[in-house]
């Protein structure tokens, strides 16, 4: 199911080509970082990062849904989960933006929170393009 969603996102994004090489490098560098810190082999590290991308898309959608109905407690829990998972798979950019969004939500700075969520989506789309190339 998540892989189908991922593929749809990739298909939608395919028209906006141009940075594929950089995207591939971004994904590869996360996988390399995860392999380095965990000692896991490449196949497992790639699987974990791909799974993370799928889960992160789902989390990002749900966070936005909860923010729209002003359910900040649930949105905060999901942001926390996104931050933790991103940190564990060494997707440092997403982890940093999730942390900033969490802090912004804490002080009810909705504009900053939304901008950080948008940045997270952009990074996720970049990572997912890598699957399209393969």
């Amino acid at each position: 199911m998540l892989k189908e969603v991922s593929r749809k996102v990739i298909a939608e994004e395919s028209s906006v080509s141009g940075k594929e090489a950089a995207n591939s490098n971004a994904f590869a560098s996360i996988v390399a970082a995860l392999m380095g810190v965990s000692g896991l082999d490449k196949a497992i590290s790639e699987e974990l990062v791909e799974d993370f991308c799928g889960q992160a898309i789902k989390l990002s959608c749900n966070i936005k849904k909860h923010i729209m109905v002003n359910n900040l407690t649930e949105a905060g829990l999901l942001l926390h989960q996104l931050k933790g998972s991103a940190g564990n798979v060494r997707a440092q950019g997403i982890a940093q933006y999730a942390l900033e969004a969490e802090l912004a939500m804490g002080i009810l700075d909705h504009e900053r929170c939304s901008s950080r969520l948008k940045k997270i989506d952009e990074l996720l789309f970049d990572f997912l393009k890598r699957t399209k190339e393969e």
Binding site: G36, V37, S38, G39, L40, I44, L48, D51, F52, Q55, E74, L77, H80, Q81, G84, S85, A86, G87, N88, V89, R90, A95
Partner: protein
Amino acid sequence: MISNIMIIDDSPIDRKVIRKIIEKRLADIQVFEAEDGLKLNESLVCHGIHMCILDILMPIKDGFQVLQDMKKDSYLADIPVIVCTGIEDRKAIEQALILGAYDYFSKPLSEEAMKISLPLKVKNAIELMKKSQGISYLSYHDVLTGLYNRRFYEEEIDRINVKKKSSYFHYYG
């Protein structure tokens, strides 16, 4: 002999990362997963769990409640629990240790935790539980016949009485 461990975490990715790390470093391990603490006690008993890894911050039922429930249950109280939470959350770690957690680690997992300390903490917790089970066996069984002994029946009757909130059964020798 296979050792059974349970990972309780609402994040499927975190569960998978922890599972892969443990499976890579420890042999003869069977990993079970739960996404929340609901109906956990039955699951721990029926899978013969030797140790748990428990996330603190979870929706519905948090790690503190899960830990408290386990410590109240005489069948589960001895299972070592390693808690995990955000690196900045020192108070949560302190609270979990007060409630009887065996050990802790912080998220995101550091290189040292992934490669060394987490697998070793899990291994030590499993060994502790197996030793505890060995002592428990000797306490509740007759050495010669292998049957349950008098102490077992006395305590079991007490447990039934507490569970039924009554004192239907009395055991006097």
